[in-house]
């Protein structure tokens, strides 16, 4: 296979674009995709203070590299979830990445600052770990962005993340989630603006970008991942993609271009400040504070038992 641009030996095939690329031209291709996504959705205004959610995985580290190369100054925030070696390894990789490039990484330690870890919260609330984890991540990253005076929270969700989430939301006809699934969510009272510049880059491409750029990232899986339905949907979507290259991108793009509006016109629930922490919520006490409370009760009960 030969590179579409220079006819040198290709290192990656991107079937949905009917194109193969050598290393430098692939890296360039990915950066251009992100640049165009940012422009098309008017994600960033000049002078915006940007905060990126960093997990130590391929997506967030690749995105940090891409945005920096495109000339943006971006700070990172790493949330330590208290998941044993997995958390300490990914923290180490994130810190090494930031140090090498002289970037600023903030670290929030969930157990230290909020008194519980993701496994503890999952056990106490009988939620699946990923749902307790996702809830905590969304809450805390937003907090750090708002309290730190950032204009925008940048997230590393890729095309596959978004397509699989869309698939899941459609399977369950979760209208509220469908209404909110968009690559740009404007700021509102207590919520930072949120953008997802990687939505046109497939998961395989962010991984390839990381490998080809020499980025060391967490390859091993989180030990709590068992039962994660999103990952199963991704595998199925990839089987479809093998047969019909481009189907994932088409599914997501069709929704964003034509479908999502219908859901957004629906009733957006009104947000009020949480009685405990002041973050916006639809109830009296926000889901994070409720999770924190049941976990605290559970930990105390276990201690005294």
């Amino acid at each position: 296979m030969k590179c579409r641009v220079c006819r040198e030996k290709a290192v990656i095939q991107v079937r949905r674009h009917n194109a193969n690329f050598c290393r430098p031209h692939f890296i360039d291709h990915v950066r251009r995709q992100v640049e165009r996504t940012i422009a098309d959705y008017r994600m960033i205004r000049p002078g915006d203070r940007l905060l990126l959610g960093v997990s130590g995985g391929k997506d967030s580290l690749a995105l940090w590299d891409i945005l920096t190369e495109l000339g943006y100054r971006v700070d990172g925030v790493y949330l330590h979830l208290g998941i044993g070696d997995y958390s300490s390894d990914s923290l180490r990789l994130s810190q090494a990445f930031a140090a090498e490039r002289d970037l600023h990484l903030r670290v929030v330690d969930l157990p230290e600052e909020y008194g519980f870890s993701v496994p503890e919260a999952a056990r106490a609330s009988r939620r699946n770990a990923c749902s307790a984890c996702g809830l905590s991540k969304r809450y805390i990253l937003n907090r750090v962005a708002v309290d730190g005076g950032y204009d925008t929270l940048v997230m590393g969700h890729n095309l596959d993340d978004e397509a699989a989430t869309l698939f899941s939301n459609v399977l369950q006809w979760n209208l509220e989630y469908l209404a909110r699934q968009h690559p740009v969510l404007p700021a509102s009272d207590g919520l930072a603006k949120k953008i997802k510049p990687l939505i046109r880059v497939a998961e395989r491409e962010t991984a390839a970008y990381a490998v080809l750029s020499g980025i060391e990232y967490e390859v091993e899986e989180c030990p709590m991942v068992a039962g994660n339905t999103i990952n199963r949907y991704k595998e199925w979507l990839n089987r479809l993609e093998e047969e019909s290259p481009g189907i994932k991108a088409q599914f997501l793009k069709g929704f964003l271009d034509r479908g999502s509006k219908a859901f957004r016109d629906g009733t957006a629930p009104e947000l009020v400040p949480c009685e405990t922490c002041g973050s916006p919520t639809t109830g009296k006490v926000c889901a994070f504070c409720r999770l924190r409370d049941v976990t605290a009760v559970d930990l105390r009960r276990r201690e005294s038992a």
């Binding site: 290192v11 999103i230 990952n231």
Partner: protein
């Protein structure tokens, strides 16, 4: 040839694998879900493989909670 698998990391030996596409077929893996890495190169599906190659099959699917 030696194949390094991940999540968790382990190694297997395979014989008579002629190209990357054969390797993926043998292990029933879709190309879209993995990167095939030899040293510091990424391999495309048409790349020939040799008996003394060491190749890593790295899953690309990760993450979870949104």
């Amino acid at each position: 040839m030696k194949v390094i698998l991940r999540q968790p990391r382990r190694e297997i030996e395979l014989e008579g694998v002629r190209r990357v596409s054969d390797l993926l077929r043998r292990l029933d893996v879709v190309a879209e879900s993995v990167l095939v890495i030899r040293g510091d190169e990424l391999l495309t599906v048409d790349e020939p493989l040799a008996e003394d190659d060491v190749v890593e099959l790295r899953p690309v699917i990760s993450g979870g909670g949104s």
